[in-house]
């Protein structure tokens, strides 16, 4: 029997119920995994099991790929017009809108982010992303190229085929739509592996995908572990492209597997150690607020978290004092409670990891200015934590922590801070705070990152591309740019009169 979840929410911020299939979603049906085993899904706020979902295997990935290929060859791919794809994506967005609060609640239960954040940001932005790509589906134009009067030369922007997508646990629903929306808009079919930690909103979406009218096999979801399902996808000979968001460590493995198997195209959204540079002449009040949002949003579990905060010496003391005040105001607690800003970290593993970094920071001689400990003794809650007096070689300065832990670093010299900011294998995002816009622009142009925020942080928009330089990734998501990665360019030369 494929698994199923029925859940009653009776909380201060949301009351309602949900009931949906949680088996593997293959060819439009929910099925058991080939071994019948299941994966426990844990509520990070309580550490208790919410439910168990079917576990996928290599054989299940094969079945999903076969379904996706069949759909691509018959009812999707070049067989479905852009207009048809647009209409289906639009219907999906409307279905999400109709179930917005329910989706938010499931996300909170599974991931631990607060209901306020889930509904105002995760779910809202997800809906907008689907609508945005619905609008692109019938606007995919190639070029006609003038050469000579007897040659009709043009390009077609064709879908690639069956694409594999592997998404993380930090923004489960948002990452789901960032992946499926551009892929579907361009005509690809999909085999997607959600994180084994947070499969629930992806599975809820599968029912909505069916209800919206997508033909069976167009979207397939195989829940499972990285070392089984993830490996199967990245090394599958019939998957033509793989998109992965997660750690740099795993990203390497994906790319290696892609090279070894069938040289499938690869896009990666990996880690970061993003610098937030705050000059003397910044609007300090604003800088403090944005810096807090930049670091502590999603409990620090964001690839673009502003985890190295460089403050020019003239503003350092004032900034640190106000920033600490702001961090103290963050209320950590049950994500379904009113007035809570920060919920638990996602899992025991992550909790241990983050606490491990805090330990390492202390051992290396950095000073804990705020926090550094667990909150309560049930649920993976960690205090907002600020380190000062850190040195560049310390692990807490070099490595991605992925928790509510940041380092505040004093700097004097503009050139030196840019050097320090760029001195990392990562290159995902950065921010610059200054009232002198000339200085801000010049600095922004020198930072080696895929996104630079000037006088803001963590700003996202479906039309603005996002992705990394260096070891933070390959390729871009969002905007028109995402479409390029799901498209194969074919050049057609029609000889209409040149005789050999």
């Amino acid at each position: 029997m494929p698994t199923h979840l029925s859940y009653e929410f009776n909380t201060p911020v949301y009351k309602g119920s949900t009931s949906f299939e949680t088996g593997l979603f293959i060819d439009g049906k929910f099925v058991d995994g080939s071994t019948g085993s299941t994966i426990d899904v844990i509520n990070p706020a309580t550490e208790h099991i919410i439910t168990s979902v079917s576990e996928g295997t290599t054989d299940d990935v094969d079945a999903a790929v076969a379904a996706a290929q069949r759909a691509y060859d018959t009812v999707w791919g070049l067989n479905a017009s852009g207009l048809a794809r647009s209409n289906l994506l639009w219907k999906l967005a409307q279905a999400m809108e109709a179930h917005a609060d329910e989706l938010s609640a499931i996300e909170v239960l599974d991931n631990g982010k607060t209901f306020g954040w889930a509904s105002s940001t995760d779910v809202a932005l997800s809906i907008n992303v689907v609508k945005y790509y619905a609008g692109w589906a019938d606007k995919l134009t190639g070029q006609t190229l003038e050469t000579d009067s007897k040659l009709l030369a043009y390009t077609r922007h064709e879908p690639i085929g069956v694409v594999g997508q592997i998404i993380p646990w930090n923004f489960p629903l948002l990452m789901f739509v960032w992946k499926i929306a551009p892929a579907l808009a361009t005509g690809n079919t999909i085999v997607l592996k959600p994180s084994e930690f947070t499969p629930l909103t992806a599975l809820r979406m599968c029912t909505l995908i069916n209800e919206s009218g997508f033909p069976p096999g167009v979207v397939n979801v195989v829940t499972g572990y990285g070392h089984t399902v993830g490996v199967a996808i990245s090394s599958h000979m019939a998957i033509q492209k793989v998109a992965f968001t997660g750690s740099t460590l795993v990203g390497r493995k994906i790319m290696e597997a892609a090279a070894r198997s069938n040289l499938k195209a690869v896009t990666l959204e990996l880690g970061g150690k993003s610098p937030n540079i705050i000059f003397d002449d910044a609007d300090l009040e604003q800088a403090v607020k944005w810096a807090a949002h930049g670091l502590f949003w999603n409990h620090g579990q964001a690839c673009c978290a502003g985890s190295r905060i460089f403050v020019q010496s003239g503003a350092y003391d004032s900034f640190l004092e106000r920033f600490t005040e702001k961090a103290k105001q963050i209320k950590v607690g049950d994500p379904f409670d009113k007035g809570v800003d920060q919920g638990p970290q996602i899992s025991q593993i992550q909790f241990d990891r983050v606490m491990g970094y805090i330990e390492s920071g202390k051992n290396d001689g950095a000073k804990i200015h705020l926090g550094g400990g667990r909150v309560g003794n049930e649920g993976y809650y960690i205090e907002p934590t600020i380190f000062v007096d850190a040195k560049p070689e310390m692990r807490i300065v070099k490595e991605e922590i992925f928790g509510p832990v940041g380092v505040v670093i004093r700097f004097e010299d503009e050139e030196d801070v840019i050097r320090q900011a760029n001195d990392t294998m990562y290159g995902l995002a950065a921010a610059v705070f200054s009232k002198d816009i000339n200085r801000a622009i010049e600095t922004a142009h020198k930072l080696k990152t895929g996104t630079v925020w000037v006088n803001c942080y963590n700003n996202f928009h479906p039309g603005i591309p996002f992705g990394g330089f260096k070891q933070s990734g390959i390729g871009r998501e969002m905007g028109e740019y995402a479409l390029h990665h799901y498209t194969n360019v074919k050049a057609v030369h029609i000889n209409l009169g040149n005789v050999l």
Binding site: K131, G135, D138, S149, K150, L496
Partner: protein, 505 residues
């Protein structure tokens, strides 16, 4: 004072509520200074449907002021692309919801069959709105590298501003959508003058625009007589752009008025005398079907009507006999009746005009192959009429008739065919039928028309641009190209690193 009327449709046993005031700032209002009314007529029965308020020049001023105010406050750069997208999609939903009723009203006022109004006119209009909704949050300019040291150079694609839009009577709802969608998608506000012959569906659509949630003043609808409302918009000093679809004669006046007043931007979709070329390798059965479609669809009241067909001599007899069969198969009647494939022409004025051309054809010596005889019953009917034995100087061959009247000629060579096709001041559409791919390439290249159909005719798609060469128009509608007509590009040079030494030398 109520500004609506209950229109009874006995044939359908229905009543439709129709607003009759001017739609300004989301309200239906009377004229401020005029008692003039416009009477709308059912062309199948010649009976008056109802009368509506006719806007005066002063009313146009008020509408323009409302559009300007909205542009400065709630629309233009004050509204995000995704909000514009949301509203356009909502409007599309509402038109879909009311499609049957809108189709019946369109059939009543314009004469076209209800099912065509619903499935084609309205179906295409809904998709058009959704298509441009999809563009609304994707208006991108360029960031341009100059030298990486001195300046941030980029472009912004601003909305032009207040747009006057003047639409014709042949596809009232569809032409409304083609105009409104791209303008709203990029952030312009609108003063729309629907045709005085067919204003009713524009007024109903205005109700839906309000229901969808567009702020007051974003869309204003001011039915009026052409010489009053059209002229007022074209010469208004606070209208930034005028878009007109209609006759070439009127198009000239619009452009003149624009030049004389404030040099407002102008886009025009004008007339045509679009040719089909049927080559000997063509699938004649198909070519004849497309040619019949080209002249009979919408009773020939189409700017791209394929009103001239030139057939290669080797297949002339065979083709014309198939064509006659196709034309005779069409059922012409009341648009409210199920069996009707095409309705009457829209008005007495058009009826007289078209029959005048048919008489002229006969008088100038062309031969009537099919049709050419007036009905004795009520209704502005013109049965499809095909002339052969034509010469290039005949009025029926040179001038746009805008009715189901076809001139069929003959040619020997490809060069001759191209010359005949291009021998016109118009350049809107053209069709060529041939199974020789090289020929298709040569001929499609050589035809001086904004749209060339190869082995097809008259089928348009919302994402493919449409417009005229030569005196058929200026600018393009549909596709991404339409966005340019409502966009004004601003280049910004933001200096962050350049210091000026003065004096220079």
């Amino acid at each position: 004072m109520a500004h609506s009327v209950s229109v009874k449709i006995p044939k359908l046993n229905k009543t439709i509520e129709v607003p009759t005031g001017l739609f300004i700032n989301n309200e239906f209002v009377p004229s401020v200074d005029s008692q003039e009314r416009i009477e709308t007529v059912n062309p199948a029965t010649e009976e008056v449907i109802c009368s509506i308020v006719a806007a005066s020049e002063k009313d146009i001023d008020i509408a323009v002021a409302a559009a300007r105010q909205a542009f400065k406050t709630t629309w233009g750069k004050n509204v995000t692309g995704w909000e514009r997208a949301r509203l356009l999609n909502k409007l599309a939903d509402l038109i879909e919801r009311d499609a049957q009723e809108l189709a019946e009203l369109e059939a009543l006022n314009n004469g076209k069959p209800v099912k065509m109004a619903r499935d084609f006119d309205i179906g295409d209009s809904v998709q058009c709105l959704r298509y441009y909704a999809g563009w609304a949050d994707k208006i991108t300019g360029q960031s341009i590298e100059v030298d990486n040291k001195s300046k941030l150079a980029f472009t912004r694609h601003d909305p032009i501003g207040v747009c006057g839009q003047i639409i014709p009577w042949n596809y009232p709802i569809n032409m409304w959508a083609w105009k409104v969608a791209p303008a709203l998608a990029v952030g312009c506000t609108i003063v729309m003058k629907p045709s005085e012959l067919t204003p009713l569906t524009a007024l109903k659509l205005s109700e839906l625009a309000k229901e969808a949630g567009f702020p007051p003043g974003v869309i204003n609808t001011v039915p009026s007589l052409g010489p009053v409302g059209g002229a007022a918009l074209a010469s208004h000093h606070d209208v930034d752009k005028v878009a007109f679809t209609g006759s070439t004669v009127t198009g000239r006046k619009i452009m003149e008025a624009a030049a004389k007043s404030n040099l407002k931007k102008v886009s025009l979709e004008l007339g045509g005398k679009s040719p089909h070329l049927v080559f000997e390798s063509a699938d004649l059965e198909q070519a004849a079907s497309w040619a019949a479609l080209g002249i009979c669809y919408n009773s020939g009241q189409d700017c791209t009507a394929g009103s001239r067909v030139y057939v290669q001599d080797t297949v002339y007899d065979k083709f014309t006999s198939i064509l006659v069969d196709r034309v005779k198969a069409l059922v012409v009647g009341d648009g409210l009746e199920e069996a009707t494939g095409a309705g009457p022409v829209v008005s007495k004025g058009q009826y007289d005009r078209v029959w005048g051309y048919i008489d002229s054809g006969k008088a100038e010596g062309a031969h009537v192959l099919v049709g050419g005889e007036k009905r004795q019953s009520k209704g502005y009917y013109v049965d499809p009429t095909v002339f052969t034995n034509i010469t290039s100087d005949m009025k029926i061959v040179k001038e746009e008739i805008f009715g189901p009247v076809l001139s069929v000629g003959v040619f020997k060579t490809e060069e001759e065919a191209i010359a005949l096709a291009n021998d016109t001041t118009y350049g809107l559409g053209a069709g060529l039928h041939s199974n020789d791919a090289n020929q298709c390439m040569r001929v499609s290249s050589a035809l001086e028309a904004g749209t060339v159909w190869v082995n097809q005719y008259n089928i348009l798609n919302n994402n493919v641009p449409f417009g005229g060469k030569k005196q058929s128009g200026i600018g393009r509608e549909l596709g991404s190209y339409a966005l340019e007509e409502y966009t004004s590009v601003k280049a910004i040079h933001w200096n962050f690193g350049d210091k000026l030494d003065w004096p220079l030398y």
